[in-house]
Symmetry: C2
Subunit: 152 residues, 2 copies
DNA sequence: TTTGGTGCAAATTCTTTGCATCTCT
DNA sequence: AGAGATGCAAAGAATTTGCACCAAA
């Protein structure tokens, strides 16, 4: 099956136990976890699940619109159980991602549509900054904990 | 040397031949190439250069503000020799990235600064769509040529 | 039953690094 | 001279995939 052409209307989305738990765990948190973090969350309920299955399901779930993939920057991709349109801030030091209480900007897409030859499908707007916790830490320490952050 | 702390004012940026050619090649094009594409461009002039050196220099050049790293989505990172603030459209089928003739939106950052606890450093705005060339192709073909596109 | 899903492990892809050697300034 | 840079190859990290078996619908 071609991953890119998967479509929520055509594929019935069989609700296996693993898929249900992944979706459930992701919806329980607001922390925009990585695949690996989700793997560890899910493993507490389904010890036998494999990382590959987590990846496959995250792909399927986001293709079908049930979750959101956050692809911007950062080493590991992050996932969001909240599919309503909203924006994020990403900490450039520790990599954490938070939701932003900012109303959506309707004018953005239409401003682009004209003239660029592309068929515009959407846009991605993400803010970068330093999260409250990292602002308190001395700079050297902050740089150390990078790891899952802005790298790659 | 800590990569994150590299700073244009403190590091003199020794202009080696490889560094100069990489910068030069990147400035010659508007195609936002990947590290690997840049490697191949540069190799025509410096056959002995290694991919590692290309990566190291792209990192250094972007840290020093001489080029721009485009991290949003897509499999491989892309680089831009144009450091003036501007926006991009990325084709969701073939992965190509084009510049957008859109004036910058000054209100964006200030709209976020209040209340989120983060120290806002900037934002990333990227549009997604289907490029002119891909719009002409039949869908199945389009999906095929994905590869460097939205994946990963 | 059948078609998609799963676990496992191996494979990929992109990127980073250690090290001995070179080269700008 | 000496701090940085390079080439090479090996290591890493994140993600994908082939395959034989399993399980929802």
């Amino acid at each position: 099956m071609n991953k890119k052409s998967r479509d929520k209307s055509k594929f019935p989305l069989r609700m296996t136990r693993q898929r249900r738990v992944i979706l459930d765990e992701l919806r329980k948190v607001t922390s925009h976890p990585t695949a690996d973090e989700i793997y560890n969350m899910v493993r507490r309920r389904l010890p036998g699940i494999s990382l590959g299955t987590v990846y496959r399901n995250l792909e399927i779930l986001s293709d079908s619109g049930m979750i959101q993939k956050l692809e911007s920057c950062g080493s590991a991709r992050r996932y969001d159980g909240n599919v309503k349109m909203h924006y994020h801030v990403r900490c450039v030091r520790c990599g954490r991602v938070d939701d932003l209480p900012l109303s959506t900007l309707p004018a953005l897409e239409s401003a682009v549509r004209k003239g660029c030859g592309y068929e515009i499908l959407g846009y991605r707007l993400e803010f970068m900054g330093v999260c409250p916790k990292c602002r308190k830490l001395p700079k050297t320490t902050k740089e150390r904990q990078d790891k899952n952050g802005t790298k790659r």
